[in-house]
């Protein structure tokens, strides 16, 4: 999955990089297609058509590649001006190149450097038989007609090309901003219910146990710091597990002895990277669906380890004895899917999220590659 590049000068210029090999190839290809069109356009094809095409191709490739070369070298300067100026400049370049090359070609033909018998070199004949005569009359109307036709075609084609580059650039920019927005939207949000309940807990503790109230406030602040942070930067597993502990510490004040937690995480590589807030929502889910609706409370188990350079983490909760249609509404699938998507966004197909539903237990298992270095992590995707 492509990570959107931070907006740079590169992105604001709508023109593609004409120095790139792929771009040069595209220009050659499109130029050749244009030559075909030009040859096929006349109402009648003759035996000369193939030869016409050779000249047309030669001319069009010259114009295309020369323009590309100039745009390639002026790219650094183009980046500094705005898109309207860059568009105007590149348009003028193509027209100018067409003009110059038309004149040069004409001169070459007239002076017999290039042997032309039939039609013109750039644009095939509009009829038959006029070509040989035309070549000898530099100062005849045919000269200007030919020049005008070349310029006209060049003006139209380059306008279409520039428009295409512009639209493609817009499309790319939109795609990137959409992608960025999607990552942000995927960023885990802390449930409002949890926020207000925690506030209520703090309000209750403030007088009865000020020290504990202080702790809970610190935990809550820490959680929100992570929640409001940048979702696209991964954190070490140790950090994420700490966030889970802080979260559970808050919930324990509220739920009292109804909540029990067990940890078996000694085998987990604490330096392994994981998208921020990807475990906490699963623990929150476990509390929301496994503990809160259960009159007698329940147990949350967090375990994990490493196997063959892959990390596994399991978050399980006991299921409430109460009948299931009274279970909590809304959002159960969402938080889980969200975590899965973010894991895939970071690890690619190497990330797995599995749900194991038993009669008395609900477990979510995450498996992902062990990545400890962000840069290599980004590269392996």
């Amino acid at each position: 999955m492509n990570r959107p590049n931070p907006a740079s000068a590169e992105d604001t210029l709508f023109l593609p990089d004409f120095c790139a090999l792929r771009m040069v190839f595209a220009i050659v290809l499109v130029g050749q297609l244009l030559a075909f069109v030009v040859v096929l356009a006349p109402t009648r094809l003759s035996a000369d058509s193939w030869r016409d095409m050779a000249y047309s191709s030669l001319f069009i490739q010259w114009v295309g590649l020369s323009s590309a070369a100039i745009l390639c070298f002026s790219r650094r300067w183009l980046k500094r001006v705005n898109n309207a100026q860059a568009g105007f400049f590149s348009y003028s370049i193509v027209i100018l190149v067409t003009l110059v090359l038309s004149e040069v070609g004409f001169w070459l033909v007239v002076n017999g450097v290039v042997p032309v018998e039939a039609s013109s070199f750039a644009v095939p004949s509009y009829g038959q038989g006029i070509a040989p005569a035309m070549v000898t009359f530099i100062k005849t109307p045919q000269h200007f007609e030919l020049l005008l036709r070349n310029l006209g075609i060049s003006a139209i084609v380059s306008a279409v090309a520039l428009r295409y580059f512009y639209v493609q650039h817009q499309w790319k920019t939109n795609l990137e901003s959409e992608h960025r927005a999607r990552i942000q939207a995927l960023q885990s949000r802390i449930r409002p219910h949890f926020l207000f309940n925690s506030m209520n807990t703090i309000a209750a503790l403030t007088r009865s146990d000020p020290a504990l109230a202080e702790e809970v406030t610190e935990d809550l602040a820490e959680l929100f710091r992570v929640s409001l942070g940048d979702a696209s930067v991964p954190v070490p597993l140790s950090r994420e597990l700490e966030v889970c502990r802080q979260y559970l510490h808050i919930e324990k004040q509220r739920l009292g002895d109804r909540i029990a937690d067990r940890w078996a995480i000694d085998e987990l590589p604490s330096a392994a990277l994981i998208p921020g807030l990807s475990l906490q929502p699963l623990v929150e889910n476990a509390v929301y669906h496994g503990i809160e609706p259960a009159t007698d409370g329940g147990v949350i188990e967090i375990s994990g380890g490493e196997e063959d350079a892959r990390v596994w983490i399991r978050i399980a909760n006991s299921r409430p004895r109460e009948n299931t249609n009274n279970s909590r509404p809304g959002g159960n699938q969402m938080a889980q899917e969200n975590v899965g998507q973010r894991m895939r966004a970071f690890f690619g197909d190497g990330a797995e999220l599995q749900v194991k539903e038993g009669a008395s237990e609900y477990a979510v298992e995450l498996r992902f590659p062990l990545v400890t270095d962000y840069v290599t992590g980004a590269r392996t995707r």
């Binding site: 209520n200 009292g256 609706p293 109460e322 009948n323």
Partner: protein
């Protein structure tokens, strides 16, 4: 004025307790940690105002309020909740007031004063409109000589319409409900099935389908001897449901 604080979280109860006692010298609130306990307390001692948390495990606050309405002298209900944007709309008309946690002293005072000025009749007039937005209750209830009788829905074998009322048959007896069978069918879509124009049965408790002398079929249930007639029209559906269950 007698106040009952109902909340499953000890700290939330403690805070409300303190706020109430600080507001009014003469009030000594009682506390309940869940729905059934709250209903028991209300019946044991007359309670004027219930501060009722909406989100509780098992029987939630909205259901408690629905059962309370069956009482001869229903207490005024003030709902408390941390954040329930949808529920707020649902019970706006049904309660004296609702308070958002963390509850402010001033708001609590207002709500209690409002409750104090309401007469019993006005409280009865407060309708529980659209309670829980279609959520099924965990218990059915009826008032027996002023006492509220609660039966867990999970214990009910079947509901049968008889004349103008509906009887809920459970393992240890019957409860006459002041409700329509069609409404019960709608509410307990999950787990219950209409097998006859006048009967709704709990599939989980069905022991078997039996052909009787008259040619018709009857359903038998675990724990009770009563059987329920299955209408010919419903028979294929019943058979299918029992097969799926097996």
């Amino acid at each position: 004025m007698k106040v009952l604080i109902v909340d499953d979280e000890p700290l939330a109860r403690a805070r409300l307790y303190r706020l109430v006692t600080e507001l009014e010298d003469d009030i000594v609130p009682e506390e309940a940690g869940n729905g059934p306990e709250a209903l028991r307390r209300v019946q044991e001692n007359t309670v004027d105002v219930v501060l009722l948390d909406i989100r509780m495990p098992g029987m939630d606050g909205i259901e408690v309020a629905r059962h309370l309405k069956h009482l001869d002298r229903a207490p005024a209900v003030i709902f408390t909740t941390a954040y329930d944007s949808h529920a707020l709309q649902a019970f706006e008309a049904s309660a004296v007031d609702y308070l958002l946690k963390p509850i402010r002293r001033g708001r609590l005072k207002e709500a209690l004063e409002r409750a104090r000025t309401l007469t019993g009749r006005q409280i009865d007039a407060l309708e529980v409109t659209d309670p829980g937005a279609g959520k099924a209750r965990t218990h059915v209830s009826a008032s027996l000589k002023g006492d509220l009788k609660l039966v867990p829905v999970a214990d009910v074998r079947f509901f049968r319409a008889e004349h103008k009322y509906v009887v809920a048959r459970y393992a240890h007896g019957e409860l006459v409900l002041d409700e329509a069978l069609s409404a019960l069918e709608e509410e307990f879509k999950q787990g219950f099935m209409r097998v006859h124009r006048n009967a709704l049965v709990a599939l989980a408790h069905v022991r078997g389908l039996q052909k009787h002398a008259g040619g018709g079929y009857r359903l038998r249930f675990d724990g009770i001897e009563d059987a329920v007639e299955v209408s010919r029209r419903c028979l294929p559906d019943v058979r299918r449901a029992l097969k799926e269950r097996a």
